[in-house]
Subunit: 215 residues, 2 copies
């Protein structure tokens, strides 16, 4: 086991002055785990009532998720999804493609890379929908949500340790599975909220599309 290192974590509070009755301020802290993947800290914070408390959390590099809109030859939309065994929950999960951001990597380029590596698809148009924080109680992780369209199939480039099936589903199929409790991944459910409100007859949320490869 790697010994703890006195590393300072990078949290920078973004707080409205009107919310000072809620804010916790870091007083001290140190790394409590440097695993191969997990990296955790324990900080002492000053509470709004001036007492102190302990906060333990993982530091995560951030991730992107892609909602790939595939147009079939007859003009209908299908979603490119992954089925992947997720060890911590012991289940094969139905998910939108996603992956961690490499150090210094632009999130849009990360989205393009993850879609290509995991599903083989490339996309000509992209729209950044928003952000979700999957686990605000104990991780710094944020996930940028991107839509992709103008898809072309190609070869996958999975990591040695990655095993996943790529499938396509209609939005109606996927909504049905959400209702039935067959889709439980939080980032994917957050993506479904974006899908339902940006695509199809009930859409009212705008997306701003950007083209790639038109330098």
């Amino acid at each position: 086991m790697v010994p703890p290192v006195m590393t300072v974590n990078p949290i920078v509070p973004q707080v409205d002055p009107a919310d000072h009755h809620l804010v916790e301020v870091r007083e001290d802290g140190h790394e409590i785990l440097r695993g191969q993947f997990l990296h955790a800290f324990r900080d002492t914070v000053r509470l709004p009532n001036a007492r102190t408390a302990t906060r333990e959390y993982f530091v995560h590099p951030g991730a992107v998720m892609v909602i790939p809109l595939l147009t079939t030859p007859d003009g209908r939309t299908q979603l490119v999804m992954e089925r992947q065994y997720r060890y911590p929950v012991g289940q094969v999960m139905l998910e939108f493609p996603a992956g961690k951001i490499d150090p210094g990597e632009d999130t849009w380029l990360c989205a393009q890379r993850e879609l290509r590596e995991e599903t083989g698809y490339t996309a000509t148009e992209w729209a950044r929908a928003g952000v979700t924080h999957p686990v605000i109680a104990y991780s710094t992780e944020s996930i940028e949500i991107w839509f992709a369209r103008g898809l072309t199939a190609g070869a996958r480039a999975l990591d040695n340790e990655e095993f996943l099936d790529v499938i396509t589903l209609t939005p109606a199929d996927l909504m049905q599975r959400c209702m039935q409790g067959l889709v439980t991944d939080a980032k994917t459910l957050a993506g479904m909220l974006w899908l339902q409100n940006t695509q199809g007859p009930t859409a009212t949320w705008p997306l701003v599309w950007q083209s790639v490869g038109v330098d």
Copy 2:
């Protein structure tokens, strides 16, 4: 720092035989962190190609989230929400009430307890919507999503270390904030998918309501 303990984690795979080309099987493992809150393991798993890999993850007791539907005197619906500073993301987050399940606690009773403690509200009718897994890559956590209605205001009973504002919003207000990127908590966005499809004019997903206190 607490030394690592050779504790076996409780993951029980739930897998369809047709998915054996995806499944990772535990070969060995041990605890790598026993913090005050965070409890992490590192397991060696056998991959579908018979190689081995390392999986690090946090063991979580599970949680519940409540979507509280408050009927105003003029018959409209409002949502009871919380604004709470979340240290790992450095922001005040707008969330549905939620909390961890106590050891052995029934999830419905947990939902009732968390709603009462954090917001002061009690509810006469409850419906279990489904489950979400917030962080399938590195935590066992699952969150049961419950709807509550027939609300009565009362006194809160916050922990010493808990500071949060309780506010009410219309569903339309909250949807607007989701569109604007002002709601990013994944469990809350998953709850919004359930809200949008079970309440109001566009609802098509069924809920089964149960009454409390009618022994």
